[in-house]
């Protein structure tokens, strides 16, 4: 892909410290990263940076001192205009993850992604020009705001991409859901907290099931199960245990169920002992497909997917492999395919995969939280009637 002009980018981030999302993304744009068997330097320049919270662990100043082409600005508007009065960049990356932001009564961290986005589009409007935007993770903790972000991007006609690295990272095994597959049920076993890694679990499932016959039809309802209700639901077979077992067999981090053993398959009693606060989100799509995301802290530290595909009784499964810098690695390389897709968007003006996926998973995350907040009752989601078709080409990391 030859482009005579190097696009200029602005990064708008909440906080930039070691192993924060902003650090992973900004550093890849500035210092390059391993890609396709070489150290790849993006053919574009990150010229402006806005950091909302600069703490004692901040790295943005060190980065600016090493990269004279990048300036730090005190406001989002100045970052986008490079201190002038017109939009002066060709692409924007918004990273509203990490930093000290309040939580609401439902346990959602009020990261200012919507607020950042609004300021970005204000500059677009004032300048009469809009450029591609990448929004890290979900769109907003608040569904109405998320919907507005999506609608604005469509009204103004700029490329908009968002989401998690789960859909784009390595898979072990390296397999893709066949386009147009008939999916009976789908499930993800993963770890992490509510309004946090649950989003990654939902994106893990969605990037697979969106490829099913007919494409995505939206979600009608969701129900959360937590603690004792989780174990009851497991016992009652609310979600298929064979899918759960298959997903666990893709894990590289299965907590040993017995002392003295390194790798044994856990019985339900073992799971109950190992997992103190399990959470399940079970939801039904408009075409009837049922999906489940299981957050099982204490049992696994990875993201594993299983589904019934094309009428086969044997589960189809894989792991979305995150080389996690929690002692296992030092680099969160799963940000590399994410940044690479962003680069493609900035060069071509087209998103590599539909933002509707993340609009839906944003809504699902908020709806799951809502179901928990309402005493783990079924929560109808007529607002999630989001239909879309997936990217035909696979976009996960294979090269």
């Amino acid at each position: 892909m030859s482009n005579p002009v190097r696009p200029k980018l602005a990064a708008i981030v909440t906080a930039c410290f070691k192993y924060s999302h902003a650090q992973h993304i900004v550093d890849r744009l500035l210092d390059g990263y391993g890609w396709n068997g070489t150290h790849h330097y993006p053919p574009m320049d990150l010229v402006s940076l806005y950091v909302d919270q600069v703490g004692s662990n901040d790295l943005s100043r060190e980065r600016a001192s090493r990269h004279s082409g990048m300036r730090i600005y005190p406001t989002i508007a100045e970052a986008l205009t490079s201190g002038g009065n017109k939009l002066a960049v060709d692409g924007v990356v918004v990273v509203g993850e990490h930093g000290n932001y309040p939580r609401n009564e439902k346990g959602q961290t009020k990261y200012p992604r919507y607020e950042f986005f609004e300021q970005v589009v204000k500059v677009f409007r004032d300048s009469g020009r809009a450029v591609p935007v990448f929004n890290d993770k979900h769109l907003s903790w608040n569904w109405e705001w998320a919907r507005k972000m999506y609608d604005t991007s469509r009204e103004m006609g700029f490329a908009f991409m968002a989401g998690s690295s789960l859909p784009v990272t390595w898979r072990t095994p390296s397999v893709e859901m066949p386009l147009g597959a008939r999916i009976g049920e789908a499930l993800c076993v993963c770890y992490g907290g509510v309004d946090s890694y649950d989003f990654h679990g939902l994106e893990t499932v969605q990037c697979m099931v969106e490829r099913r016959s007919g494409g995505e039809t939206g979600v009608e309802w969701i129900q959360a199960y937590r603690g004792d209700k989780f174990w009851e639901a497991l016992g009652q077979g609310v979600w298929p245990k064979p899918l759960m077992d298959a997903a666990l067999c893709r894990s590289h981090t299965l907590a040993p169920a017995r002392p003295g053993f390194n790798h044994v398959f856990p019985a339900v009693d073992d799971m109950r002992r190992l997992v103190r606060d399990p959470v399940a989100y079970r939801y039904q799509h408009a075409d009837g497909l049922k999906c489940t995301v299981l957050l099982m802290n204490g049992l696994v530290r990875d993201f594993n997917f299983a589904a019934y595909v094309n009428g086969r009784s044997e589960p189809w499964s894989t792991q979305m492999y995150l080389p996690m810098p929690d002692g296992r690695t030092t680099l969160a390389s799963f940000f590399s395919p994410l940044v690479n897709h962003c680069e493609t968007m900035y060069l071509t003006g087209k998103a590599a995969y539909p933002v509707e996926r993340t609009l839906l998973t944003t809504g699902l995350t908020a709806a799951g939280v809502e179901s928990l907040f309402r005493g783990q009752t079924r929560y109808d989601t007529p607002h999630l009637a989001i239909r879309y078709q997936p990217a035909k080409e696979s976009t996960f990391w294979r090269t």
Partner: protein, 412 residues
């Protein structure tokens, strides 16, 4: 003792007999303690392991165990009680399950870990050859031989390793050996095209000698053995250390482009990445030399002219990555051998699945000659180190073999 002719007749008869289920396995281990190779591998036959998205239980039964040492944390007695087998005081008794005749269908020799002396080359003198010899004695005395898996290199000594492989040929039993690197997941999941022409190959790894350099050399070998003409053996080796490693790079003895490529697959750059999370182009920035304070380069010159280099870069990275340039292919082929984390170390399940394949099929899925050659490469490299890093001709490493065309690494 049977004559060779008599042995072969008996062996043929034994092979013709209907296979009894489940297959009976003897494990011969140096130690069986938590996180030892014996536990990682032996337990797979006791509790099963994940394979292909299901929990797989081998249709095999461990019937006997021999452990050479019982350090603190020894699990052999607990395992025997729980899984209903016996720990025998000698290898012969383990193979005969206390009776008068060979009473197992396969043998696993897992002689890694434990307290054994080192020689002047820094090789730990694990008694793999000695364990194997005792198996051969039983096979010969009892007129029947069964498949043998030997974990890691065959022996610290190429001569002993060669004797082992010769014995397996003489007594016609399948034999598999080596590291899990060749069979674990790869990121990305690539193999070199079978019959390709390799211009140059390079491997990076880390960890001590002669434990981890063996793994790195096997990782290298399982890739290059797929080249046009098949494996031809090794003509010469040299091991360099310290600044001489960087000087060799400056002189073009290995390609810095390939080194950059291999390192681009690493998920574990150290130094500034550990400090503040940043990505690093370790070669271009010069950080590689700052981080790898005691580098070692293992130069391998093959008999067909291929030159390969394995760099041990302790302090710079913590994983194993490969890169090669093929004739007529602009894109460098590079991949990481994924060593999944403790305690699952699911890569050992990948390896045990290959052992199971051998026991079921009665044929090794890939030639033991790979491990024979790597055992010899490693020994000769360590001899070079001892002899002031002198280049050494290795006419004894004329180990030629054909790799299987079918890829053997984890993909399912």
């Amino acid at each position: 003792m049977l004559t060779r002719r008599g042995f072969l007749q008996t062996a043929t008869l034994a092979a013709a007999a209907p296979a009894s289920r489940p297959k009976r396995i003897a494990i011969l281990a140096t130690v069986y303690r938590p996180l030892s190779h014996a536990q990682h591998m032996g337990d797979r036959f006791l509790t099963g392991y994940p394979y292909g998205g299901a929990w797989h239980k081998p249709d095999m039964k461990v019937v006997s165990l021999y452990v050479d040492q019982k350090p603190e944390g020894d699990l052999s007695g607990d395992r025997a009680r729980e899984f209903g087998f016996q720990v025998y005081p000698t290898i012969a008794e383990a193979l005969r399950c206390g009776g008068g005749k060979l009473a197992v269908d396969a043998v696993l020799i897992i002689a890694e870990h434990g307290n054994y002396p080192r020689n002047e080359k820094g090789q730990t003198l694990y008694p793999r050859y000695e364990f194997f010899e005792q198996c051969i004695r039983v096979f010969e005395q009892d007129g029947r031989a069964v498949p043998v898996y030997n974990d890691k290199h065959l022996s610290y000594s190429f001569e002993k390793a060669k004797t082992m492989v010769q014995a397996s040929r003489r007594l016609r039993f399948p034999m598999l050996a080596g590291s899990s690197l060749p069979v674990t997941w790869r990121l990305p999941p690539i193999d070199l095209p079978f019959g390709c022409r390799i211009e140059e190959a390079l491997m990076v790894g880390e960890g001590g000698s002669d434990a981890m350099d063996f793994h790195a050399l096997e990782g290298l070998q399982c890739m290059v053995e797929r080249r046009s003409g098949g494996e031809a053996g090794v003509k010469a080796v040299q091991l360099l250390e310290g600044d001489a490693v960087w000087k060799a790079g400056d002189e073009g003895r290995y390609s810095k482009v390939l080194l950059t490529s291999a390192l681009s697959r690493s998920d574990t750059p150290l130094g500034l990445t550990v400090e503040d999370g940043r990505t690093q182009d370790l070669v271009a920035s010069g950080q590689l030399q700052n981080l790898a304070k005691k580098p070692a380069a293992y130069f391998i010159e093959y008999r067909d002219g291929l030159k390969a280099t394995m760099l041990m870069l302790d302090g710079a990275i913590k994983d194993f990555n490969f890169a090669a340039r093929l004739s007529g292919v602009p894109q460098i082929q590079a991949t990481q051998f994924l060593l999944t984390p403790e305690p699952n170390v699911s890569y050992s399940a990948c390896l045990m699945h290959k052992v199971e394949e051998m026991i079921e099929a009665g044929a090794a899925p890939y030639p033991v000659d790979r491990t024979l050659l790597v055992s010899g490469m490693l020994e000769s490299c360590l001899t070079s180190k001892l002899q002031d890093h002198a280049p050494l001709e290795t006419p004894h490493l004329n180990v030629a073999y054909k790799a299987p065309q079918r890829s053997q690494f984890a993909q399912a």
